[in-house]
Symmetry: C2
Amino acid sequence: MEKATINVKGMTCGHCEAAVTNALKELSGVSEVKVHLDNGKVDVTFHDGKVSFDQMKEAIEDQGYDVV
Amino acid sequence: MEKATINVKGMTCGHCEAAVTNALKELSGVSEVKVHLDNGKVDVTFHDGKVSFDQMKEAIEDQGYDVV
């Protein structure tokens, strides 16, 4: 398992937190997600090889947020 | 039909807009809802007698926002 922190712009409320969390957790290979609304950071624990950073980035962007 | 504008605190994004809009539209007697995120105002068209201001206020507060 690998851990990464992704910087996301535009998350403002609990609904945003849920949207990003659920989108990431739906990806096979992602096991844990923790969104920090105060600083726009998303901690992800994932299985490298099963899911790529690009896939996680795309899942977040599909919800309407920017990965910065 | 009556029109009212409700001042709501804490709506920040499209998800908030959807949550408040849907909660109000689920009330029998509410026909139109327009959320203005920029100033926190919610325009409601409703059938007075079928739905009360208190019911609309409660529906908004149940979603986690404050009516001010």
